[in-house]
């Protein structure tokens, strides 16, 4: 395609050049929105899974982060060394891939100049990201990565506010010991990722030491599409208790396959899944009776000066997002709150000073006690057990926090 007339060609090129230059000028100026007073905003960075396998959990985490940011900004911001600062959070989508999380966290630190990182969703992504934050000496508060492997590398810049992985399913067995007739046989299914393996190891150890017999254990690939053969084997062993260690998608797969095969147990519980709103909306009445390890529930009676109490947090959260907060929401907000306290305690926005303040933090929040051991793990907060009853989450363990009696044993499929 050529121009018949050479003069037209040059005119065209000239006009294109003008247009391109104009376009560059306009976009260049409008590129980065400049806040009115840039030094009054503390920007946090977060690489979260907006798409991919952990998209739902990533979305819940973002809700938790955003809820805190909007809440404190509405109160004028957070106070550090006598000065008020607004907060902002810069997000990137890691598509549920840990290598991408690490890359994006590095980008947040090196290109976007972020000094405080809110962890990605999940232990795999947090594991990858923690190496980056350690390298650049930027503190990261982790609300959704419970694998202790993250913390056994001698790192100093990552702090997990949630209870470690091995505790996730223990509560269900603690509860089981108080049931009559006492269930004795356990089958454990674990996805082959760091977090799920740790959860499974924790509950298997607990089972062995507390009079339970393990009749079946199997691992499965984390992105498996089909668990029918697994459930066939579980059915053959007829366990009293079935425990699944994985994430939301696997828990749904296992539930569906269990129903397909007519696998009936007295108790069924998962590490992650039952506490999310999606578990109930995806399974409908089949979700009733399912138990889940919960880092936090709306029934707990913790209080704190920022949100008031767990109940007040629940009320305000539900008003904003139209669903009850699950523990992913709560711990994500609590992570931001942890930074808030640490910055106030340090009286400075210097990353190392904030890191030191985090290491020595000991606070009671609406989420529970937040205090870290020498590795950065919060071993001081207990976990609870939730059970879905009539489409609603009820706290059934520990007894002093329970607001409902557990349904035991599980009714047959179709009668839940």
């Amino acid at each position: 395609m050529g121009f018949a007339n050479d003069r037209h060609h040059r005119l065209f090129a000239f006009l294109t050049g003008i247009a391109a230059a104009a376009l560059l000028a306009v976009t260049g100026a409008a590129g980065t929105p400049q806040p009115a007073a840039a030094d009054d905003v503390i920007t946090f960075g977060a690489a979260l899974s907006a798409t991919g396998r952990d998209a739902r959990e990533g979305a819940l985490t973002k809700e938790g982060y955003d809820f805190w940011a909007d809440y404190v900004n509405a109160q004028g911001g957070i106070k550090v060394a006598g000065k008020m600062y607004k907060v902002a959070i810069k997000y990137y989508d890691d598509a549920s891939d840990s290598a991408t999380s690490a890359k994006l966290v590095e980008r947040l630190i090196t290109q976007d100049n972020i000094k405080f990182i809110l962890a990605p969703y999940g232990s795999s992504a947090t594991f990858a990201a923690s190496a980056i934050t350690e390298k650049y000496q930027v503190p990261m508060v982790d609300p959704n990565g419970a694998a202790e492997a993250i913390f056994n590398r001698g790192f100093h810049y990552t702090f997990a506010i949630l209870s470690p992985a091995k505790k996730y399913l223990q509560g269900i067995l603690e509860l089981a010991q108080t049931m009559h007739p006492r269930p004795t046989t356990v089958a454990v299914l674990a996805a082959n990722d760091q977090f799920s393996i740790e959860v499974a190891a924790g509950v298997r150890d607990y089972a062995k030491q507390n009079g339970f017999t393990e009749v079946f254990y199997s691992e499965y690939p984390p992105d498996t599409k089909d668990v029918a053969t697994l459930l066939t084997q579980v059915k053959a062993k007829n366990p009293d208790i079935i425990l699944g260690s994985g994430h939301l998608q696997d828990s749904l797969l296992i539930m569906r396959a269990a129903k397909d095969q007519g696998v009936q147990s007295k108790i069924i519980g998962f590490s992650v899944g039952p506490s999310t709103p999606d578990f109930i909306t995806s399974l409908g009445p089949d979700a009733n009776g399912v138990m889940g390890g919960a880092q936090w529930t709306t029934a707990l009676t913790y209080t704190d000066p920022v949100f008031g109490s767990a109940q007040r947090y629940t009320r305000l959260f539900q008003a904003k997002y139209n669903h009850l907060p699950d523990y992913h929401n709560a711990e994500s907000s609590a992570a931001c709150e942890t930074f808030q306290y640490a910055m106030a305690k340090a009286g400075s926005l210097d990353p190392d000073k904030v890191r030191d303040a985090l290491a020595s933090l000991d606070i009671d929040t609406f989420y529970g006690k937040i205090k870290f051991d020498s590795r950065g793990v919060n071993i001081y907060k207990p976990m609870a057990v939730e059970q879905i009853q009539k489409g609603v989450h009820e706290t059934v363990w520990p007894e002093d926090a329970a607001n409902a009696k557990p349904i035991y044993p599980l009714p047959p499929w179709g009668k839940r």
Binding site: T51, A55, T229, L230, Q249, R256
Partner: protein, 258 residues
């Protein structure tokens, strides 16, 4: 035909999504009933893709069509991700968890129906290929393009029709699996690998061979999971494929073609 369709997995995915949207849309169409619609839609899409894109490289070495369909598959998967996001969709019908119990075995109804429909489609395809004029034209073209052209076969049209039929069958597969599996933009990948393995196992170009290959592969996969653990499922199945090819290079049913 010498067209290796890497986009087959993407077509399966599109069929599954179409069934999903018909299911959750105002029509609430049962997934099994949407199979003909999905097949028709994908037939049209695949026909157009062949005529507009693939036919341009049909005379080039096989690698060219391989690369082209590979590119098409990436584009389709990424477009699906852009428009529909990576959120995982599921279809749960009233009969989803029901199963048939006999003699200690429990077979979910959905899987049973999927198997039956697959068998019906295979028989239909085989009949079409052997008895109908177009089917014979397809087989003629695959044997010798020039001779077919000399016999009055509209070759470009035949290529596109074949691709279209392949796309339609992929869509049917997608509709069938949409009830049992999670629906995501990348769901086609695992099915693509299995589709290739099954075709080779049964003998390339052999329709009933594909059915036999599929059944054999499924059984091997399940027993592999049972005996060696879930993680080794694919390993066992691939090793079985290797062994079959070592001893019967033309597949379980295939015969050496001239």
């Amino acid at each position: 035909m010498n067209v290796i369709n890497i986009a087959h997995g993407a077509f399966i995915m599109l069929g599954a999504y179409l069934t999903y949207w018909l299911f959750v849309g105002p029509m609430h169409l049962d997934p099994f009933l949407s199979i003909p619609l999905a097949m028709l839609a994908m037939f049209v899409l695949a026909y157009l893709l062949q005529r507009v894109l693939v036919n341009q490289v049909i005379r080039a070495p096989m690698l060219a069509t391989f690369l082209l369909t590979f590119g098409i598959s990436i584009m389709i998967a990424n477009l699906a991700q852009i428009f529909w996001s990576s959120d995982i969709r599921e279809i749960t019908t009233a009969y989803s968890g029901t199963s048939l119990s006999f003699g200690g075995l429990t077979v979910p109804w959905v899987r049973l129906w999927t198997l039956l429909i697959a068998i019906v489609l295979t028989i239909a395809l085989q009949a079409f290929m052997t008895r109908s004029k177009i089917g014979r034209a397809i087989r003629a073209t695959s044997m010798d393009v020039d001779a077919a052209r000399l016999s009055g076969v509209g070759v470009a049209n035949i290529y596109a029709l074949t691709f279209g039929i392949g796309g339609a069958l992929a869509a049917a597969a997608g509709s069938l699996v949409s009830v049992s599996y999670a629906i995501t933009p990348s769901m086609g990948d695992s099915f693509l690998v299995r589709a290739f393995v099954v075709s080779v196992l049964g003998g390339l170009g052999n329709v009933t061979g594909a059915l036999v290959g599929g059944l054999v592969y499924g059984v091997i996969e399940s027993f592999g999971a049972l005996w060696f653990g879930e993680g080794f499922k694919d390993v066992v199945a691939m090793v079985a494929l290797l062994l079959v090819l070592l001893f019967r290079p033309y597949g379980l049913i295939g015969r050496a073609t001239a």
